[in-house]
Amino acid sequence: MRAATAEAFVRSPGYWVTVLRRFARDPVAVGAAMVVLGLILMAVFAPWLAPQDPLQGMTLKRLRPPGTDGHPLGTDELGRDMLSRLIHGARISLFMGIVPVFTALVAGAAIGIVAGYAGGWTNTVLMRTMDVFFAFPSVLLAVALAGALGPGILNSIIALTLVFVPPIARVAESVTTGVRSRDYVEAAKASGAGALTIIRKHVLGNVLGPIFVYAMSLIAVCMILASGLSFLGLGVKPPMPDWGLMLNTLRTAIYTQPLLCALPGVMIFITSISFNIMTDGLRSAMDIKA
């Protein structure tokens, strides 16, 4: 007879539960994550949050300073309400910061993992192709592609995606190469498993985390780049409310309303620094030493 006192089955918390618990103990990172969440909520509920129509201008009330009656953050060069435009701007600016990175994450991770696991010629061909795009400084590549394709949201997204595929692929390749030579992958091979099974069961679980965190760290860069493109007139086209574009159009007012023209930049800065701090927190939470 089996001992009746057999202890209950113990199941340890999984990796990501542990990571989240560790992340939750870092107040700065949690604060940054709250800001990011707030910005996302602001973007989602912009039409309900914004006091006024972001596209409707009043020619008589142009370039009013913050604190003006009815316009707590003033009005822009066409007399549109700044607060409403900044709230609505979160939509397109966050979209432009996140979408290219995620598209690039899918493509780059696939390329990198295949190259890293396959090794040999597959690796050489894929990674040397990536190296060609790596040979361009990111801003130059984005500007060149956007410049060639012409302004517009879609073109910017294409350009930015192409900018971020090579770095993500390179990181994916290097972590996959590292995991591939681990003993547990060897052991899986020794048990007769095929490449796809090993990738699914042993490789992905160990490489997706680091690749994902790396991609997260690119969101801030992508935000700044996307806004930069709009700032140059290569991204979002007027009259769409985008923080980078607003920075561009308000530049003419730099002598008359300096505070006003600094506002969109403040939003970009807050967003990118929050993403960066959040990612740093996540990275150190994932750095679990046994």
Binding site: V139, L140, A144, A148, L149, L232, I254, I273
Partner: protein, 317 residues
């Protein structure tokens, strides 16, 4: 060592070829007629075809590429459609101007970045680390074109200490190293320096922390070195990587100067690129991008060879 440098250089050639291909393809990526900006809208078909033949746009792509590559190899980047001057001339002058602010910015960024990085790495988890790390996060997070505007508002508009834009009296043609001109360098260079500052600080912090966790540091203490003596070893261990990051950052700044130069109207390669894009001057666009990208490739090569020379751990195979 020399063998390694040669081998490394040879490995770079295919990359350079790829870069040239991308630059070439950019022109053909552009929608519309490449001559639309120079020809009057009512130009006759005959003139159009004549111009197409003049620029070689009527030939098949691979032939165009081969001819273009052959010319580029001889230093001929074509003629600017807008100014009619050789692209190489325009680019050369502009890159020189960008090099001035980019080098200055890299130096500022390197000095501050290594300082912050060492302080943060040495005093891990102390308030000094937190302050230095905060400065680094600021550097990598701030939209630098916006920071440029803020600095202009403060130092040019409000305080009136420094000029807001341009390269001084007479533009870049009349550049001399006197205060009247040099003061125009300050704001763009300082603005530009926050990015390398942030990146170098983060790299050095991680590097120093990693070095300090190694056993040989205990070995150095065990033989009686003072903390300063240990510090010298840490510096020598960190130097190859830190210098390499600095070199790469210079390349990024050169290639990414367009935003800063637009804010400050600095007559460098970025401003040239901006003009080329908006005036659809495709040969100029192509040439500028090619020169900047090739410069970056060569810089990477130089950094790699330098790192191998400095670091005895790397096998010089």
């Amino acid at each position: 060592m020399l063998a390694y440098a040669i081998k490394r250089t040879l490995f770079t050639l295919p990359i350079m070829l790829g870069v040239s291909l991308v630059c070439f393809a950019l022109v053909h990526l552009a929608p519309g007629d490449p001559l639309v900006s120079v020809l009057p809208p009512d130009a006759s078909q005959a003139i159009k075809e004549q111009m197409m033949a003049l620029y070689g746009f009527d030939r098949p792509y691979h032939e165009q590429f081969a001819r273009w590559l052959a010319r580029v190899a001889q230093g001929d980047l074509g003629t600017s459609i807008r100014t009619g001057r050789p692209v190489s001339l325009e680019v050369g002058k502009a890159v020189g101007n960008t090099l001035m602010i980019a080098t200055l910015a890299t130096l500022i960024g390197f000095v501050l970045g290594t300082l912050f990085g060492f302080v943060a790495g040495y005093f891990r988890d102390s308030w000094l680390d937190k302050a230095a790390s905060a400065a680094a996060v600021f550097g990598v997070s701030v939209p630098h074109y916006w920071l440029g505007m803020i600095l202009v508002i403060i130092f040019a508009v409000q305080l009136g200490w420094l000029p807001p834009t341009g390269a001084g009296p007479g533009g870049s043609e009349a550049w001399v190293w006197d205060w009247v001109h040099v003061q125009h360098l300050i704001l763009p260079a300082v603005t530009m320096s926050v990015i390398p500052m942030g990146i170098i600080a983060r790299t050095v912090r991680a590097l120093v922390a990693e070095i300090l966790s190694q056993e040989f540091v205990a070995g150095l203490r065990a033989k009686g070195l003072s903390e300063f003596g240990v510090f010298r070893h840490v510096v020598k261990n960190a130097a190859p990587t830190a210098l390499a990051v600095m070199g790469i950052q210079l390349g990024y700044l050169l290639g990414g100067s367009i935003l800063i130069e637009t804010v400050f109207s600095w007559p460098g390669s970025g401003l040239l690129l901006n003009d080329a894009i908006f005036q659809r001057d495709l040969p100029l666009l192509q040439g500028t991008i090619l020169v900047l990208a090739l410069f970056f490739v060569v810089l990477n090569l130089a950094v790699d060879v330098m790192q191998t020379t400095l670091d005895p751990r790397i096998q010089r195979a």
